[in-house]
Amino acid sequence: MTEVLVAVPTPVAATAPRRGAPAWRTWLPALPFAVLVLLTIVARWVVPFDPETVVAPANLAPDGTHLFGTDSTGMDVFSRTIAAAQVNLVMAVLVTLMATAIGLVLGLVLGMNEAAGGARGLFGRGMTRFTDLTDAVPPLIVGVVVVGLFGPSLVSLSVALALILMPNQVRLTRAEVLKVRGDAYVDAARMAGLLPWQVMIRHVLPNSARPAIENSSNVFGVSIIVSASLGFLGVGLNPPTPEWGVMISNGISDVMLGGWWTTLFPALALCAAVSSAALLTGVITRLTRSPGQ
């Protein structure tokens, strides 16, 4: 949760292939993420052991049978690490969709209305401050309250994470809206007789959605890390559901006295997933930026 929630895309210049490079070069960075998605789909069929059942003595070090050892109850860490990809990815996708959708809508509405006079402006400014307010609530409390209210399910945890990560999507969109709302083409559209909402949807939205969409794959990665931090504080999915965050936080006490495997492997998996999402960012960024820009 200490992870910063506005993560921002890597500079395009850094990863952009040379002009005229073959299409596969453009798509190559998306490969790890595709593999991850594939793994998610087949996870339950490829694991050697049932990831939610005790299959061996507890705390076994990695060996030929249990590639990643067993955890404090005797479940197979390898099977759980693979199976957790499913839970974590579904959760991260849910969070990303929710946070970005809400972020775009709110950011657009706020940005357009803030400078207006009268009740509309008051509403816009009021809502902007309200977004700040939600951001001022420590994520931990949001997590505990939401999960406490609805029970520790995949959906409630996703809602909690979306609420935690949403304000920055709002802020990114709003900042962009504030920048473009005065641009000539918006004025032109307005003068051409388009209704305010038409201007908003047709001209402002396409030109201000980029930062939030580019940031969405970061939201994806950060959501996994925040869920791990929540797990560390005892707000996680019910056992024995395999989930990287909870696996890492449960295993972390073992590390000091030599039980490294229960933490290391899920941590590596988490790291790989977040990194693959970061690579995907590059692809998305390139797709959202038209060549003329």
Binding site: P239, P240, L257
Partner: protein, 574 residues
């Protein structure tokens, strides 16, 4: 009766006076007077601080002790309350407070450790006591010249006022005394040093002494508390939460940084003489593995809340002692009987047969757990635990019982607190193994407070938690958890025909004046047979002490509430 086990008196810097009263909270405000001298001494002994520096300090009475703890008690309030049931609060009570009597310490299993003898009680704040021939009047003779750490004399008035205060504390549970003691009106002052308690039931006597010896029976310095009483708070309940010095235990708190550190300074006026360790510093270390490694590295002398797996890992470390005892704390799988499926006794019996006892003891507790048969302390005089059926896992019989009850499979939710990771793990084991016997268990994690609400209101289907009988008498063990009429202290709400039979036997046993007599023993046994058979609570196993310490620490006490009595700790010469 006098105490057989007063710790070696040691020279200690005096810490009398108003200073302690304000000792207080705030960030580390060391009190004026003698204490700062002690602090300086400790500082001089251990400057800077590189890694692996073994705890230094001078020898003898000025030796200080550093303990890594998972949390600190939120208040210094001795009555109960707050986290009255958390280990840290129990430990505060055990070290800051003292009652009229206590269980004497006897040699424990592990070398240089002691345990409590639950069959007898010796004087503590009282020097001695006697019981009238009818077993209804207990007369206590207070120690002559006893004063609180603040220097106020402790007299019969303090005893009376202490009980008056308890009965007027909203969070205090008076019902524990219901078996035979009516409260302040049943206490009379004979003279300044003598008080008499009158009971209504002689059979309650042993439990009565047990309650006097535990947190329900502590005696306070009424002079100090009255000074801070207000109109709205005539018993200084609020003041006492944050200010020390009014208890009579071996230590009092002299400095505190909330959530980080608490400094306990020896009480020079302690009933058993000033403790050997002049100062105990409790430092909060959140991670259990880190606490364990700090003892191994010598950075701290003792650590609490260590996981059994880490204890097993350190068992062969020559510098570390992993104590063993006849454990009192146990894993309690309570089947809530006020709703399906556990309103059916056969389903409860089936569940009791579906629990993987051996696997839990070996895998979750790394062998640091022992089989638990019934909930009466097996060392109780005239009680033969070997006659009780031992818990066993038997899938076939569990299935047969389920079929008999008309079920093919049964699905239910097992709730557990996130604060107890070992129990969360145990749930996974129970879930995995009970599936074979026909139980489809969903595990439900709750925050500690949410869990305790659920436990008290009996809103769940089944819950698992660590439990202990604070007073180790058969009377207490048989009466405390199964009170009828939807009582909040009865987490299983066990109230069927078996419960009625159970209470009938228990009442017969309670009518016998001496609960440890040869006549009472068989009755307790009979009651326990009904209890274990009906299985409103499954006693999964009892677990070994969760502390570890350096080999030069002697006098470790394993007590019924699992708190260390720092007043009994000594430093052994190498």
């Amino acid at each position: 009766m006098t105490q057989p086990d007063s710790p070696v008196p040691a020279p200690i810097l005096s810490a009398r006076g108003e200073g302690i009263m304000n000792s207080a909270f705030g960030r580390r405000r060391f009190i004026a007077g003698g204490l700062s001298g002690l602090g300086l001494l400790a500082l001089a002994a251990c400057g800077g601080g590189g890694a692996g520096a073994a705890s230094g300090g001078g020898g003898g009475g000025n030796r200080s002790l550093v303990v890594a703890v998972p949390a600190l008690a939120p208040t210094l309030d001795g009555v109960v309350g707050g986290g009255g049931l958390t280990l840290e609060s129990f430990e505060m009570n055990a070290n800051l407070q003292a009652g009229l009597v206590r269980n004497p310490y006897i040699t424990g299993k592990t070398e240089n450790t002691v345990v409590q003898d639950f069959n007898t009680y010796v004087g503590y704040v009282a020097e001695s006591y006697e019981v009238s021939p009818d077993g209804l009047t207990y007369t206590f003779h207070l120690r002559p010249g006893l004063t609180s750490p603040l220097g106020n004399a402790i007299t019969a008035d303090d005893v009376l006022w202490s009980f008056e205060r308890k009965w007027n504390t909203p969070t205090y549970s008076k019902t524990v005394w219901q078996g035979g003691f009516a409260g302040p009106q049943a206490i009379s002052k004979v003279d300044d040093r003598t008080v008499a308690f009158t009971l209504t039931n002689a059979g309650f006597g042993l439990t009565f002494l047990g309650l006097l010896a535990n947190l329900q029976g502590h005696i306070y310095d009424s002079t100090a508390l009255k000074q801070h009483a207000t109109g709205a708070d005539p018993y200084a309940l609020e003041w006492a939460k944050a200010n020390g010095g009014w208890g009579l235990g071996p230590y009092h708190v002299t400095a505190q940084t909330p959530d980080q550190e608490m400094v306990l300074t020896a009480n020079p006026n302690y009933a058993y003489g000033a403790p050997a360790i002049g100062q105990v510093t409790l430092r909060v270390v959140g991670d259990a593995g880190t606490r364990a490694s700090l003892v191994a590295s010598g950075d701290v002398d003792m650590a609490e809340g260590i996981r059994p797996t880490d204890q097993a890992r350190l068992a062969n470390n020559d510098a570390v002692v992993v104590p063993e005892a006849d454990p009192i704390e146990y894993v309690d799988l309570t089947l809530v009987t006020n709703k399906a499926p556990f309103d059916d006794e056969r389903v409860r019996k089936a569940m009791a047969l579906a629990v993987p006892y051996e696997q839990i003891m070996q895998q979750i507790y790394a062998g640091r757990a022992v089989q638990m048969v019934g909930n009466i302390n097996p060392n109780t005089r005239n009680y033969d635990v070997s006659q009780l059926p031992k818990p066993s896992s038997d899938v076939a019989r569990a299935k047969a019982l389920l079929a008999e009850a008309g079920h093919d499979r049964i699905a239910y939710t097992l709730s557990v607190s996130t604060a107890t990771q070992d129990l969360v793990d145990a749930c996974v084991l129970v879930q995995s193994y009970a599936r074979e016997a026909g139980f489809d268990i969903t595990i439900d994690q709750k925050t500690a407070a949410d869990f305790s609400t659920m436990r008290n209101n009996a809103t769940g289907q089944a819950i698992i938690y660590r439990n202990r009988s604070q007073v180790q008498t058969p009377t207490y063990a048989c009466t405390i958890f199964w009170k009828p009429n939807n009582d909040a202290s009865n987490p299983s709400r066990w109230q069927d025909a078996s419960a009625a039979r159970f209470w009938e036997v228990v009442n017969r046993a309670q009518a016998i004046p001496d609960p440890l007599s040869p006549e009472a023993g068989p009755l307790w046994l009979e009651a326990q047979k009904i209890l274990v058979d009906s299985s409103p609570e499954i006693f999964v196993c009892s677990i070994q002490p969760s502390q570890i310490f350096r080999t030069d620490v002697g006098g470790f006490t394993y007590r019924s509430e699992n708190a260390i009595d720092f007043g009994n700790i000594t430093i052994l010469d190498a």
